[in-house]
């Protein structure tokens, strides 16, 4: 007996439910915009235009998307082992630190095709290192991962302020940032790639990290659904007691999962540091680590879902700026409110419509499937 509420079919959970959540958020946003005296449909048009079609906006949208893919993957990976990694922000920050240190160390020595992969790996290593201690504390001491990863965000922020205004600060400068990174350690820009393909594109922050992010989506799918390690990660997440019975070393899996999760978060620094800023600046993580939680929730920890959710949030960030620019009464704060509403509906209230939707779907599909579920 499956209990009073039937299960939601997988397709509905993956696509229909997030779509409904998004529409609800848009309706509430529309009401808010109407209340301040603007036309919500016009505003929506401006946002979509500003995110995808206007000038070089698509490049910006995909640049934001890249950040969200990495942080979304970080949250999703941990969530498969039922670990709630809130520390993407700090892990990305330390990923940037490691990337910069590696860049300064090996950038001047090696050609780009050796230096760049090593610096990218250093970013992942930095993120993993910052996730290792919370993972270890969870595995060995049962210290809750949510608490420790949040604390590690603060530690990372303080550490970076101290380093960027201290030993890592560019000599002779007054702003808290490092010297420019060596060229060999930088990510080729999207403009360069398009130029190489013979397309003339505007200069945007979009860079090759986007392709790396797409590759990571595939690796994530492979890891979780096709490898023995992913099988063990899912087993620990679904039923740690059973995992122990099967001979799975649960503490070990918790630590490994957190390392991978942190590595994905650290990769976000590749996009920001190696692709855009070309140096480490204060607060380059800008909250992308936290938005990754909403991305993973909305994307249902599925790579396609994470991509679509990342694209949505990328479009929101970019289109939101356009909204701020176009309308007098719609301020930056109003844009944040709309983003907040979408996070609220697709993150915090993600499962609000699950039961009614499941009942509705079963009411519609009841007759044909009466026989095959029994027994």
């Amino acid at each position: 007996m499956s209990g009073p509420t039937p299960d939601l079919p997988r397709w509905a959970d993956l696509y229909l439910l997030p779509a409904i959540n998004l529409i609800m958020a848009l309706i509430v946003s529309g009401i808010v915009i109407a209340l301040i005296g603007e036309n919500p449909f016009e505003a929506l048009g401006v946002m979509i235009n500003g995110a995808f079609f206007f000038g070089d906006s698509l490049g910006y949208t995909l640049y934001y998307t890249t950040n969200f893919i990495f942080t979304g993957l970080a949250v999703a990976t941990a969530f498969n082992a039922l670990l709630f990694n809130i520390g993407g922000e700090g892990q990305a920050y330390i990923g940037g630190l490691f990337a910069a240190l590696a860049a300064f160390a090996i950038g001047p020595i090696f050609p780009w095709f050796i230096a760049l992969p090593l610096v990218v790996a250093a970013a992942a290593l930095g993120g993993a290192a910052w996730a290792f201690i919370p993972g270890l504390l969870q595995a060995k001491r049962d210290s809750h991962i949510v608490i420790t990863t949040i604390m590690f965000n603060f530690l990372a922020a303080s550490l970076m302020v101290s380093l960027l205004s201290g030993s890592l600060m560019q000599p002779g400068q007054q702003s808290p940032q490092t010297a420019p990174l060596p060229d060999a350690a930088l990510m080729p820009s999207g403009t360069w790639l398009f130029g190489w393909l013979g397309i003339d594109a505007d200069r945007t922050p979009l860079n090759l990290s986007f392709l790396v992010a797409l590759g990571c989506l595939y690796l994530y799918w492979l890891l979780i659904w096709r490898t023995r390690l992913g099988y063990e990660i899912r087993a620990v997440g679904k039923n740690p007691d059973a995992a122990k019975y099967a001979g799975i070393n649960v503490p070990r899996i918790i630590i490994i999962t957190m390392l991978i999760s942190g590595a994905f978060a650290g990769m976000m620094a590749v996009n920001e540091i190696l692709g855009v800023h070309e140096k480490v600046i204060l607060n380059f993580t800008a909250g992308y680590g936290f938005t990754g939680i909403a991305v993973a929730l909305m994307g249902r920890n599925h790579p396609v879902g994470i991509f679509l959710a990342s694209l949505l949030f990328g479009a929101l960030f970019q289109g939101g700026l356009e909204l701020d620019f176009e309308f007098q009464v719609i301020t930056r704060e109003m844009v944040l409110l709309i983003q907040g509403l979408i996070i609220l509906f697709s993150g915090a209230l993600a499962y609000m419509m699950q039961k009614p939707l499941a009942r509705a779907i079963h009411a519609i599909m009841r007759k044909p499937s009466l026989e095959d579920t029994h027994g």
Binding site: S2, E232, A235, K238
Partner: protein
């Protein structure tokens, strides 16, 4: 919310105490109850039997207001009633004793019984009142429990009495008991039945759900039989037999006794010496036990659950290290400094069917094919290198599903969507298929329907005949007695007795299970 009542009389003579007419209930596409008719006379003990998944629990939950019926009506003393919540049910004099007790272990008996009717801001008066009620109830029905004892310190039988007292204190006239004897010794069961008989003598109505046919025969007046969500028969207990009930339950004749054949034990395959296990909270769970199991032999371990069987299974399965003593099997020696993990033990030829398939044996959200390699997922046959090949494990699962008759034979269905019996068959197929040299089995047929029980028992005997040493832990005494070549009885972490097959006797084992050791001869 108060229950609505109107006075529509049914029939001419005295109405039934409790009557259901054409009650149906479905969960999504699953029809749990279909056109159920049930009539229970006042002052009788009425049994409801059925296989697991026949819809008994759903029916009881409807009676107790936990679920609402889609269709049909319910009458109490001939009046149509609507029960929308358990509060309504209690107001109508229906009391429920759940399979898993709903008691607060850190409260005393009085505190538990008064829960929900404390009365006033201060507890003093309510407590005094409850003490009086408890006293009179225990005098009337012979249920003696120390009112000031902590429930956590009571044994299972006494906890159940507290549950019954609680229901009676709330004014229950109709008492529903869901699988009440599952955790009791035969002696405790008999005491429970005495209590039920005295309740009946006092005019109370008892509705007892069970899958144990002998209990139906020994205590009930009437019995209703359910199968696949439908009521398939009502009988006067005096006019039926266990055989007829079993046939009605499964819809065909079943062999209740297992054809054990003869065993031909070989060399010692598993040896346990002075094994002791102390829990993390300092409780001695196993206290210096020793036994051997030979190849081609089934050793049954009888005992009420919670007497050391679970830690023993965990140690034999490599999930936990002993505190002292050692286990020798499959070329390994396991002691407190040398824990051999489940994976190494499986590689050496151990099969382990855990007591609780939901918590240990399966991952319910995993597909059948993922569960079929659970614990064996590092085997090279499941894929290449670090990868698991879904096609390979699907084929592997399909083969085992055909061989072990697992239905529906769909490897891509989550384990959650299989019935209890088929879930258990997935575990059994997985653990038996590699032809283990030592198999430890816990509660192999718990919550499994009669047809599957027969199949599982045959498989165990077949494996024994191939020379596997089998340790069988079960709270079902019948099962232990019908499968085992030898039985040891555990109580409070000790072995209180050992019997060879020829000496099996339910009363002797029952006494041992209750902790009464026979004089060492």
């Amino acid at each position: 919310m108060a229950a609505t009542k109107n006075t529509k009389r049914s029939g001419a003579s005295a109405p039934f105490g409790l009557e259901l007419r054409s009650v149906s209930k479905s969960f999504g596409p699953i029809q749990a109850n279909q056109n159920i008719d049930l009539a229970v006379e006042r002052g009788t003990i009425h049994g409801i039997v059925g296989e697991n998944g026949a819809g008994k629990s759903t029916l009881m939950n409807i009676l107790y207001g936990m679920h609402r019926a889609d269709e049909g009506e319910m009458l109490i003393d001939g009046a149509v009633t609507q029960i929308k919540s358990s509060a309504d049910a209690i107001a109508l004099g229906i009391g429920m004793v759940h399979q898993h007790f709903m008691l607060v272990p850190r409260f005393t008996v009085v505190e538990n019984v008064m829960l929900g009717s404390e009365g006033g801001v201060l507890l003093k008066e309510g407590r005094a009142h409850t003490l009086d009620t408890l006293q009179s109830l225990s005098d009337t029905y012979g249920m003696h429990v120390d009112p000031n004892a902590l429930v956590g310190d009571l044994n299972v039988g006494n906890r159940q009495r507290v549950e019954i007292l609680k229901a009676l204190k709330h004014g229950a006239d109709i008492l529903i008991l869901d699988e009440p004897t599952g955790v009791l010794t035969p002696q405790e069961t008999e005491q429970l039945f005495e209590i039920l008989r005295s309740l009946r003598a006092d005019g109370k109505t008892v509705l007892m759900i069970t899958h144990k046919l002998e209990e139906i025969m020994s205590v009930t007046d009437n019995v209703s039989i359910m199968r696949r969500g439908e009521m398939v028969g009502h009988r006067k207990t005096s006019a039926t037999s266990t055989q007829e009930l079993a046939e009605l339950m499964v819809g065909r004749s079943v062999l209740l006794e297992v054809d054990r054949g003869t065993s031909s034990p070989g060399d010692t395959a598993l040896s346990v010496e002075n094994l002791t296990a102390v829990s993390s909270t300092g409780v001695t769970e196993i206290d210096g036990i020793s036994f051997d199991v030979r190849a081609g032999e089934i050793l049954g371990i009888a005992g009420v659950s919670g007497n050391g069987q679970t830690p023993l299974m965990e140690i034999l399965g490599g999930m936990r290290a002993p505190t002292s003593g050692r286990v020798r099997m499959l070329g390994h020696q396991i002691d407190k400094d040398h824990l051999v993990g489940p994976e190494d033990l499986r590689d050496s030829g151990l099969g382990h069917i855990p007591e609780d398939r939901h918590h240990h044996g399966l991952i319910l959200d995993f597909l059948a094919q993922e569960n079929m390699i659970f614990g064996y997922h590092h085997d090279p046959q499941t894929g290449s290198g670090i990868l698991i090949n879904p096609k390979t494990i699907a084929d592997h699962t399909q083969g085992l599903m055909d061989h072990f008759d697992i239905r529906p034979p769909n490897p891509e269905l989550p384990a959650r969507n299989f019935s209890g019996g088929n879930q258990q068959k997935i575990v059994i197929a997985r653990e038996m298929h590699p032809n283990p040299k030592v198999l430890i089995v816990g509660q192999p047929t718990r919550g499994v329907d009669v047809g599957a029980i027969e199949f599982i028992h045959k498989q165990l005997i077949a494996l024994r005949d191939q020379g596997c040493a089998i340790v069988l832990v079960s709270v079902e005494l019948d099962e232990v007695m019908s499968l085992s070549d030898r039985i040891i009885v555990m109580n409070d972490g000790h072995i209180v007795g050992e019997l060879a097959n020829a000496e099996f006797d339910e009363n002797r084992i029952g006494l041992m299970m209750a902790g009464i050791a026979e004089d060492a001869a």
